[in-house]
């Protein structure tokens, strides 16, 4: 199979954050220290090489960037300071833009201004729409029930619409990912039943992020527990999304607190807050962990929006429960003005790894087994160097 070489590819990736790839001299230290590299998926060195050679088509079909969780050991180890960890991160950004059919992702990754303008635009549109809806249908003095400013049934429908759009783009991306990695990128036959056999991988990795826990740096400070914090953050917004997509009506009802439901909201808020504070602290301090040294503008956008959402959500909740209904309504609109762009930009930014990572584990497991089957057919007595 002939592969077209794109000599300008390395410059493309430079914009996504992979600035030092040219420095790599192929010693293989990074693959050696990586706890996720194995015989089927050898990275990061191989990806670095493919990048240097401009093998865009090869990397497009690669799952390897998704198998990396950026523990940063490779970059700490790298004798050339070529930063393989950051390269894998940049490849993930680039892959997201490849999976995305709209082209929005690549605009976001390449231009901070465009992203800010888009987010502001969506926020203003949401604000205007919600304000008009509120004024036309209800009174600002009523929060819930008859004549409410923003009735929870309407918010429910609104949330589902926004969420639906988000998930549509996410799954379109996942479909393209499947096409790239499992159709275009693999030359050996993959039996159909493997897709069913390995299906459990998706929920398993989605929930546990087990492989992230495997690559924690040993011997670093006790405060450094990326897996735990990430788990808190991820479960935080997973719970939140379930709450607002399914249980928004009871959640918004009455000034009294329904502990059976609200307790989940509180727990999720704690998770989100801790996660935000942790990541902002690490990114501002640029601690010795290499993964925090280079922060892409899209990363900041994510964290800043999330902080505004969390704080405005808390304020709105307190105002509602303490009876300041007008203020609660206004805060609610502000809250929604951030939530909507935050949710809608998800499929086009790093956050989409929520879907792509478990999918990549799933595809990788299928590929692994397919390769093993093929090897057994081709070479029944495997001879290793030893």
């Amino acid at each position: 199979m002939a592969i077209r070489v794109n000599p300008g590819y390395i410059d493309v990736l430079d914009k996504f954050g992979a600035e030092d790839v040219q420095l790599c001299y192929q010693c293989g230290d990074c693959s050696t220290v990586c706890s996720h590299a194995d015989d089927a998926f050898k990275f990061p060195r191989k990806s670095m090489r493919q990048l240097q050679m401009g093998l865009e088509e090869k990397l497009e079909t690669s799952l390897e960037p998704w198998l990396c969780y950026y523990c940063g050991q490779c970059s700490e180890q790298c004798p050339r300071e070529a930063d393989p960890g950051e390269t894998m991160m940049s490849l993930r950004r680039w892959l997201i833009s490849r999976y995305d059919i709209t082209g929005i992702a690549s605009q976001f990754f390449n231009s901070r201004t465009k992203e800010i303008i888009t987010v502001l635009l969506v926020a203003i549109l949401t604000g205007v729409y919600l304000t008009f809806y509120g004024i036309s249908g209800g009174s600002i003095h009523v929060y819930d029930g008859e004549g409410a400013f923003l009735p929870s049934s309407f918010i429910h429908a609104f949330d589902l619409t926004v969420g639906g759009i988000m998930f549509l783009f996410l799954w379109l991306g996942a479909l393209r990912m499947w096409y790239f990695s499992m159709v275009k990128g693999i030359s050996i036959p993959v039996p159909w039943w493997l897709y069913f056999k390995k299906l459990y991988e998706i929920p398993f990795h989605f929930v546990t992020q087990k492989r992230y826990a495997e690559c924690e740096n040993n011997g670093t400070s006790k405060l450094y527990m990326p897996w735990l914090v990430h788990f808190g953050l991820a479960s935080g917004y997973s719970i939140m999304i379930v709450l607002i997509m399914v249980f928004i009506v009871p959640l918004q009802a009455g000034p009294e607190i329904r502990w059976s439901l609200h307790i989940f909201g509180y727990l999720a808020t704690i998770g989100l807050l801790t996660g935000c504070i942790y990541f902002v602290r690490q990114r501002i301090l640029k601690t010795k962990h290499v993964q925090f040294k280079k922060t892409h503008s899209t990363d900041w956008m994510f964290v800043i929006l999330l902080i505004i959402i969390t704080i405005s959500g808390i304020v709105q909740h307190i105002l509602h429960r303490t009876g300041y209904l007008e203020a609660a309504n206004i805060t609610y609109i502000l809250h929604m003005m951030v939530v909507v762009p935050w949710l809608l930009r998800m499929p086009f930014t790093k956050w989409s790894h929520l879907v792509y990572r478990p999918m990549a584990m799933y595809f990788a497991e299928i590929q692994r087994e397919a390769i093993a089957r093929q090897q057994k057919l081709v070479n029944p007595l495997s001879i290793t160097l030893k």
Partner: protein
């Protein structure tokens, strides 16, 4: 000749004031136009040739840190303008050592010489000081030995100063030399004996240069002699004192893998062949004469003088040769290889002593065995001749070399000695597996590539891919690496790991350069005047560098450089010009000289 000067820089880090040089250049006779083209200019050939025609230029001077980079364009332009292409002159700041503000005058002189059409090295000849015929050589490794012998054989006095108790340096520790697999000692020891017996060589071991005064051609040097506490002339090296001595310490000569006493001889072929007392560990010295002194009582020749005091001497020399050599990088700071943590991870020098027939195992390559040390009440890992030979050995190249975290430079000799190790292991142990992890194989010298091919043909697994991970799985050591050419991740169970550790300048280098007033490069190696044209001279007249202290190099190169230094020194003694420092030459002196050469 109508001359046009063009400044074009390659490196923006090159901090030199181009404007000042340009102003100076405008006042030079015959210079018609001066242009500063900036950093890495894109030169338009047509415009340039038009410029040459309109200014009617007959000679072009291209000045900059690396003007050769732009020479083709200027030559073409000159040819297109119908001028003489040979009159494109280069004024290279890098080549003649004009690096910063302090060397602005030299940069001006370089441009001036080029504008006169005179090679800089012809015009800038330091000289004038009469030369003392004695020479000081600092460091008695193979470089110092070779230089001393060359000069002494020409009938001139040499003072050879060595810090340790014996001459020979690192080469004395080696087993074989690559690529010929000659016995290192067989080459070195005759030379050592020559040095010891030479009437023109004044050998001072356990000595250190403490101050240097004077000017080129007449240096006054103060040397401090540490007390040997054994009379060299009467000691017959019978060894009775060693048997009596109760103190045991690690042997420096054996790279720490064997034990010596506090009174010892570094190795049997040492020159001078006499024992010495290690002050830092001798019980008598430490207790200020209260305890022990067993050796003094046992000595049949009464040559041990434990109360001997340090002394010093002053000498006057004309030339100084620095041959201070190198040291290994401290590998325990690179923790992924487990050096110091796992017993059978060795540095290259430790392995060299292990495989050497005069080493503690008699040349048998074995793994360390656990022994109970009654004194510290702990198990210890030591080499004994009864140890088990390893079945699998990994050799890892580029440990701390070519690594921006440690040494960015290539240590130059590691590839070859690692291949040599593979051969020695294969030669001594039947059915052994040797895995060589390398990044790039640098077999650059005469017969080296053939040597590498030979080692590969011997069945060593030479793996392109660097290992960065040595781990212990129970009792079994494991080395993980990427076999890049086979596209595989590999993990081998090994019994011994040899690390090809990078080289750094020896510890006293910095103090010595400060004392002598010569410069070092960013890695700490001594700077030569010009790497291509003057690889043995330094900025200061009468001070030369030889061997590893200048940059990593192998034995043939070291010996060649040492002989070259001797030629320089002897030349300064016989020509009647005298010597001087390049840095003390003034701009007007060089200008005058250039003009006089020009008018001839």
């Amino acid at each position: 000749m109508r001359t046009g000067v063009f400044f074009c820089q390659v490196d923006e880090q090159w901090k030199i004031d181009i404007d000042a040089i340009a102003k100076y250049t405008l006042n030079l006779p015959e210079v018609e136009s001066v242009q500063d083209l900036g950093i890495l200019p894109k030169i338009d050939l047509d415009k340039l040739s038009d410029n040459i025609i309109s200014n009617n230029l007959e000679r072009i001077v291209v000045a900059g840190d690396l003007p050769g980079f732009f020479k083709p364009v200027f030559t073409k332009a000159m040819a297109r303008a119908g001028g003489n292409a040979k009159e494109v002159r280069l004024a290279s700041f890098q080549e003649h050592g004009a690096k910063n503000g302090h060397t602005l005058d030299r940069a001006k002189a370089i441009v001036a010489c080029a504008s006169f059409g005179v090679p800089f090295s012809l015009a800038a000849v330091p000289g004038g000081n009469p030369v003392n015929h004695a020479t000081l050589v600092i460091g008695a490794g193979i470089a110092g030995i070779q230089a001393s012998l060359e000069i002494a054989n020409a009938g001139k006095q040499v003072y050879l100063v060595e810090q340790s108790g014996t001459i020979g340096g690192h080469m004395a520790m080696f087993d074989k030399t690559f690529p010929t697999l000659d016995c290192a000692a067989c080459i070195l020891t005759p030379k050592m004996v020559d040095v010891g017996q030479h009437e023109m060589i004044n050998l001072m071991t356990l000595s250190k240069v403490v101050s240097v005064n004077g000017k080129p051609g007449a240096y006054r040097v103060k040397i401090k002699h540490k007390a040997r506490r054994v009379d060299i002339d009467s000691c017959v090296a019978c060894g009775l004192c060693v048997d009596a001595c109760p103190v045991k310490v690690k042997s420096e000569f054996d790279a720490g893998i064997s034990i010596r006493k506090a009174i010892y001889i570094p190795f049997p072929q040492a020159v001078p062949n006499a024992y010495l007392v290690d002050e830092a560990n001798c019980r008598y010295v430490l207790s200020e004469g209260q305890k022990c002194a067993v050796c003094e009582r046992k000595c049949p020749k009464d040559c041990i003088i434990l109360d001997e005091k340090d002394s010093s001497s002053d000498i006057e020399v004309g030339n100084i040769i620095i041959a201070t050599g190198y040291d290994l990088l401290d590998v325990s700071q690179i923790n992924q290889y487990g050096y110091g943590k796992f017993p059978n991870v060795l540095t290259s020098l430790e392995f060299e002593r292990l495989t050497n027939a005069s080493g503690s195992t008699g040349g048998k390559i074995v793994c360390k065995t656990k022994q109970y040390n009654r004194k510290i009440k702990q198990d210890e890992w030591v080499f004994t001749p009864e140890g088990m030979p390893p079945r699998n050995v990994a050799i890892i190249h580029c440990v701390g070399s070519r690594n921006k975290n440690y040494n960015a430079y290539c240590s130059r000799v590691c590839c070859m000695y690692s291949l040599k190790f593979a051969h020695l292991i294969k030669e001594k142990i039947p059915n052994v597996n040797v895995y060589e992890f390398y990044i790039d194989m640098r077999a650059f010298g005469k017969g080296y590539e053939e040597f590498a091919e030979r080692i590969k043909a011997e069945g060593t697994h030479v793996i392109r891919g660097h290992s960065a991970d040595v781990s212990m799985d129970g009792e079994q050591m494991k080395v993980r690496g990427e076999d890049i050419l086979n596209d595989k991740l590999v993990e081998f169970e090994v019994d011994m790991v040899v690390l090809a550790v990078g080289l750094v300048p020896s510890p006293g280098t910095e103090a010595l350069t400060r004392m002598l007033g010569i410069s070092r490069d960013k890695d700490g190696w001594l700077s030569e005047l010009d790497y291509n044209g003057n690889p043995t001279d330094t900025d200061k007249g009468g001070i030369y560098v030889a061997g590893m202290c200048q940059a990593p190099k192998d034995i043939p190169d070291t010996v060649a450089q040492a002989s070259a230094v001797a030629a320089g020194v002897l030349g300064s003694l016989t020509n009647e010009r005298g010597i001087g420092s390049m840095s003390s030459l003034s701009l007007s002196e060089i200008e005058e000289k250039a003009k006089s050469v020009h008018t001839l």
